[in-house]
């Protein structure tokens, strides 16, 4: 399916929810509203667009911006061999977004990673806890304001 056509249909269906469409390195980037994420993603996952694969899901910290965090979703359509990026901006005060675990199983661990590193909480996630860092670890290490020299050993260190 032609990419332009997909973008046109998206614009028609979610006209007020899509804030911005840009192209980088040949792939479209959609900046959408937070509450429309599940609808847009479900729409893209179904036929005939069939973005059936969630390649990656991550977060970026733009410290100093009003909407500080930006979720990035990389989708891939196997039948059309196309990629698409979806971005959602979140404010620090209300740091939560819908979970995609109902659509993709691999979103489970990816969202746990984002929760571990950035502290974004996912609504509807079945098992939201840290995945890399250990229990009792304080703070979110990939945030820009995480102290660079902060160390939290699990056992007492020698010397």
């Amino acid at each position: 399916m032609e990419k332009k056509k997909i973008i046109e249909e998206l614009k028609q269906k979610f006209s007020e929810k899509i804030k911005e469409i840009s192209v980088q390195f040949g792939d479209e980037i959609l900046l959408i509203e937070r509450d429309s994420l599940l609808d847009v993603v479900q729409f893209l996952k179904d036929e005939p667009y069939s973005y059936s694969m969630l390649l990656d899901l991550t977060c970026v910290d733009y410290k100093g911006h009003e909407l500080r965090f930006e979720m990035v979703y990389h989708l891939f359509s196997i039948s059309n061999v196309q990629r698409l990026r979806i971005k959602v901006r979140l404010s620090e005060k209300d740091l939560q977004i819908d979970s995609l675990t109902s659509l993709w199983k691999n979103a489970n661990w990816l969202e746990r990673e984002v929760y571990d590193m950035f502290g974004v909480s996912f609504k509807g996630h079945p098992d939201l806890r840290r995945i890399f860092m250990y229990d009792g670890f304080e703070g979110y290490p990939l945030r820009k304001d995480f102290p660079l020299r902060k160390r939290q050993p699990r056992i007492p260190l020698r010397k």
């Binding site: 890399f132 860092m133 290490p141 995480f146 699990r154 056992i155 020698r158």
Partner: protein, 157 residues
């Protein structure tokens, strides 16, 4: 006089026996494991220096070979493995990450395994070449030979 002579010779013989039968436990977490494998396998073959058996149980091993980055999450595990080893035991810090944390000076990585367990020989390199490892091994054997040997019927202080 005669007694001290016998003790000294016995100490020497024990050291000689121990340095040439270093059963080792490989604790491998990262890319240094590749260099460990090439050192242990037939091409460089550190069995030539008496580091004969790879023991996959800490209770049967004399030397703990720590290869690769140790994170704070993993630190209690390494500590437990070290505690499970029976005396006498030696620790080889294999590669820059285990020596000092290497390039990973961040929230996740232990800055040298000597912050967790005592280390006998440090081998730098990222990863160290097998020749470096063999050189380190020979230095460890010299150290073992010179050590005051502990044995079962000797009274502990």
């Amino acid at each position: 006089m005669a007694g001290s002579f016998i003790t000294t010779r016995f100490n020497y013989i024990l050291g000689w026996a121990r340095k040439y039968s270093l059963f080792h436990y490989p604790y491998i977490t990262a890319c240094c494991g590749m260099e460990y494998m090439s050192t242990a396998a037939s091409h460089f073959d550190w069995d030539r220096f008496g580091t004969g058996w790879t023991r996959f149980s800490p209770r049967q091993s004399d030397m703990l070979v720590v290869c690769g980055t140790i994170s704070h999450k993993l630190a209690p595990v390494l500590r437990t493995v070290y505690d499970q080893m029976t005396e006498p035991k030696w620790v080889m810090a294999f590669g820059t990450c285990t020596v000092s944390g290497g390039i990973y000076d961040n929230y996740a990585v232990v800055q040298g395994i000597d912050r967790i367990i005592p280390v006998d020989i440090y081998i730098p390199g990222c990863p160290p070449r097998p020749e470096t490892v063999l050189d380190g091994l020979i230095k460890l054997q010299e150290k073992i030979q010179k050590q005051e040997q502990e044995w079962r019927w000797k009274k502990r202080k």
